[in-house]
């Protein structure tokens, strides 16, 4: 090692030099990146018949969420000629791997997807439009599939590129025992009431909100809940869908950020939020350390098991009583690779998930989420007196009020890691001002869109 680092003898250098040159020459001739011939338009002839020939569907799903596997098992039970090979990774790993995995020769047929715009731009995702008419997905409530449409480099309109294995809703979980301790008899009807409860909890020595902020900014949940209420949620949706001219630098976002700063200063978040990760937050909440937790219905079944009868859920309230509920709600998105070997079977599976009675039941009992699908199909009931029943009811209420928006964290591929997370960590530690936060997030967004 010492020798290598100090001085290479001249004779050896003479031999090494051409080798290096050859190495460079072999690689440096052409620009990186395949010159991909754009795939032809959507294939009009699609097969909606499963057939009897054996098919093996390659699936790439998220670790820690047993729903995909449970659905696959049930599908094989009903259709024995179709089997699944399931590979699982953590969501962040899928986000990082998806483009390369889908560009490879072994692209999965069905894959859990992060943001889709880049994947569509790179021709990696199958356009599902031909299946929409073939299976009658156009009869689903339009808002259900809106987030899964991509056109002209924006989301929300255009062709369909994904379907949900369940449709999640987010809101506030609360510990019932602690709630009665601070005198909360029913869920707060306004933001002001919610803040009064926070103050009462703090005064009573109860941790008001249990929220994580390590690795990824969990405090973005309450932040967006406030932002949705302080302005027009359509503005938020436009920003997430990358509509031209949309900005994060709005009075609503600023007011939400100021509120978060106020809550942080008042000690409503855990003191060690920046060192607390998602699993830690859920663990603390289950142990009874925290009145509220901003989270989604994917945790419902889990919470029912860990603290039966002691956990409730409500949609984040509006600014004024009787105002419309707005909540982050997103499909558990799965798409079909453009290079998939069995796209027809994959689409058949996606349709089955939305329409088969047993599949819909699994979506509720295992996934904890609304199964979506056509509005005339009944939503399977959850056991009474569970938080699962409450989140399902909230999802239906939100659907009826048309109050679903996507997560700001999904606006671009890098916005969460590059801006929201570090800036939110600074904000709650008093190292960033609300004005600075809003500007920093918008600056990163503009930078990414300019590429």
């Amino acid at each position: 090692m010492e020798e290598l680092l100090t001085k290479i003898p001249r004779r050896r250098a003479l031999v090494l030099a051409p080798l290096l040159v050859i190495g460079l020459a072999a690689t440096a001739c052409s620009a990186p990146g395949a010159d991909r011939s754009s795939t032809a338009g959507p294939d009009a002839a699609v097969k909606t018949d499963l057939g009897t020939a054996p098919v093996k569907l390659e699936m790439y799903a998220e670790t820690g969420f047993p729903l995909a596997k449970a659905l696959a098992d049930e599908f094989t039970k009903q259709h024995p000629n179709v089997t699944f090979a399931i590979r699982e990774d953590q969501f962040t790993v899928i986000v990082e791997n998806a483009p390369r995995v889908m560009a490879s020769d072994n692209a999965p047929d069905i894959i859990r997807l992060p943001t889709m715009v880049d994947l569509v731009k790179d021709d990696l995702l199958e356009n599902l439009d031909p299946y929409v008419s073939a299976y009658g997905w156009d009869k689903f409530p339009a808002s259900q599939l809106m987030q899964l449409r991509v056109g002209d480099n924006t989301r929300g309109t255009g062709s369909l590129y994904g379907m949900g294995l369940g449709y999640s809703v987010t809101g506030v979980f609360y510990n019932k025992k602690l709630a009665s301790q601070v005198g909360m008899t029913q869920p707060p009807a306004t933001v002001a009431e919610f803040e009064q409860l926070l103050a009462k909890a703090k005064a009573g020595g109860v941790q008001p909100i249990m929220q994580f902020n390590k690795n990824t900014a969990g405090i973005n949940f309450p932040h967006q809940a406030l932002q949705n209420q302080f302005g027009d949620p359509a503005q938020v949706a436009d920003w997430i869908f990358q509509k031209p001219g949309a900005t994060f630098d709005t009075p609503a976002a600023l007011k939400a950020t100021q509120t978060i700063q106020k809550w942080a200063q008042a000690g409503y978040f855990p003191k060690d939020a920046n060192a607390l990760d998602y699993a830690g937050m859920v663990g603390q909440f289950q142990k009874g350390n925290g009145l509220f937790m901003f989270n989604g219905d994917w945790e419902s079944a889990n919470l029912d098991k860990a603290m039966p009868g002691n956990v409730g859920f409500f949609l984040f309230p509006a600014e004024t009583a009787g105002g419309k509920h707005v909540a982050m709600s997103a499909p558990n998105t799965f798409g079909v690779s453009a290079k998939a070997k069995n796209p027809d079977t994959a689409a058949y599976f996606l349709n089955w998930v939305h329409t088969n009675a047993k599949a819909r039941e699994i979506a509720v009992t295992v996934g904890g989420s609304s199964p979506g699908g056509p509005s005339d199909l009944p939503v399977p009931a959850a056991a009474p007196n569970t938080v699962l029943a409450e989140t399902l009811k909230a999802a239906q209420q939100l659907g009826a009020e048309n109050g679903a928006v996507d997560f700001t964290a999904n606006a671009t591929g890098g916005i969460f890691a590059a801006a929201i997370t570090p800036e939110m960590q600074k904000l709650v530690a008093g190292q960033q001002t609300p004005e600075g936060y809003v500007k920093a997030v918008q600056a990163e967004y503009a930078k990414e869109l300019s590429r």
Partner: protein, 323 residues
């Protein structure tokens, strides 16, 4: 790292060179021809390894340099960007902060382990033989054997709000000092540094103990006869004799500091804010999460040059006179 361990204390590089050819002292033609044949055979032996080296080290290195001149998302068509990526690396205030974090980590990953290692080594020098010596060496070397990911997880428990460190502080009546060490803006980077110091102390100590065992006892005897105390003995005999070993310690640990990834990724993920983000982590994020392969490559090239800028002078300073 193992190669550094293996080659450091031997110090006989100039008797037989690594390719196994005899030292060239005469220069007659016959001798030269024989040399050429021997060298040819030698290269043949080396060829398989060299091929692997070219494919897995030289080629990726060349590709990284090439990518750094492009604007590329890793999948689509790349666009020639010239020096834009390098300009970004040297002007983006976030990236400059990230590079400065790595330089601060040198104090913890390099200077502290070497200084403490010298202290510990000179204390355990006398017990290097026998069963007790083996036990001491094993315990000291243990952190080096533990995977960095496991070390990161264990330390993030120790340093958490209700972890052992804070429990001890509270038991001592110092509860006011207790905090989430890895989540606090002021303490996160030093806390990460402590983990690195813990991991690397063992390596440095073992290298230095081995080096000390090679020092001629006569030197110590002479020093003592001249009336030197333990401190004088350390400064006049031990330290100069360990020049090469210290050089290896500094080289290995500085590289570990500048290229750190595992410990930071596990214990803090670079947070809070950018307090503990290091170039290794940022390269990974840029390439895989933000899909800016060009900028990530440029940062990687800059990191490599930074490592060389630190390590080459150390190599020169500590090369030492040939015995």
């Amino acid at each position: 790292m193992t190669s550094a361990l293996g080659s450091a204390p031997t110090g006989r590089d100039d008797q037989v060179s690594s390719t196994g050819r005899p030292a060239r002292s005469t220069s007659t033609r016959a001798h030269r021809r024989r040399w050429a044949r021997a060298a040819g055979t030698g290269w043949l032996y080396v060829l398989p390894a060299l091929l692997m080296y070219a494919v897995f080290v030289l080629r990726p290195l060349a590709l990284t340099v090439q990518y750094s001149f492009y604007d590329w998302n890793g999948i689509g068509v790349a666009r020639w960007a010239g020096l834009d990526n390098y300009v970004t690396v040297f002007t983006d205030s976030d990236l400059l902060k990230i590079i400065s974090n790595a330089i601060i980590l040198i104090v913890f990953f390099s200077l502290i382990p070497v200084a403490l290692g010298l202290l510990v080594a000179s204390m355990v020098r006398r017990i290097t033989t026998g069963a007790f010596g083996t036990v001491v060496r094993t315990i000291l070397f243990l952190p080096q054997v533990i995977p960095l990911v496991a070390a990161g997880i264990a330390w993030s428990w120790l340093l958490s709000t209700n972890g052992l460190v804070n429990q001890v502080l509270r038991a001592l009546g110092l509860g006011g000092l207790a905090r989430a060490w890895l989540g606090d803006f002021d303490t996160a980077l030093p806390a990460v540094g402590v983990i690195g110091a813990w991991v690397l102390l063992g390596l440095c100590t073992i290298l230095l103990v081995t080096g000390m065992s090679k020092i001629d006892p006569a030197l110590y005897e002479a020093a003592r006869l001249d009336g030197a105390g333990p401190v004088r003995e350390f400064l006049a005999v031990t330290l100069p004799s360990l020049r090469q070993e210290i050089g290896v310690c500094l080289t290995v640990t500085i590289i570990a500091a500048l290229a750190s990834f595992d410990i930071v990724y596990i214990s803090t993920s670079g947070g809070p804010g950018l307090q503990t983000t290091v170039p290794g982590l940022e390269i990974y994020r840029l390439a895989f999460s933000q899909r800016q392969v060009g900028l990530a490559s440029a940062l990687a090239v800059v990191l490599m040059l930074l490592v060389l800028a630190f390590v080459l002078p150390i190599q020169r300073l500590t090369r030492g006179e040939k015995p």
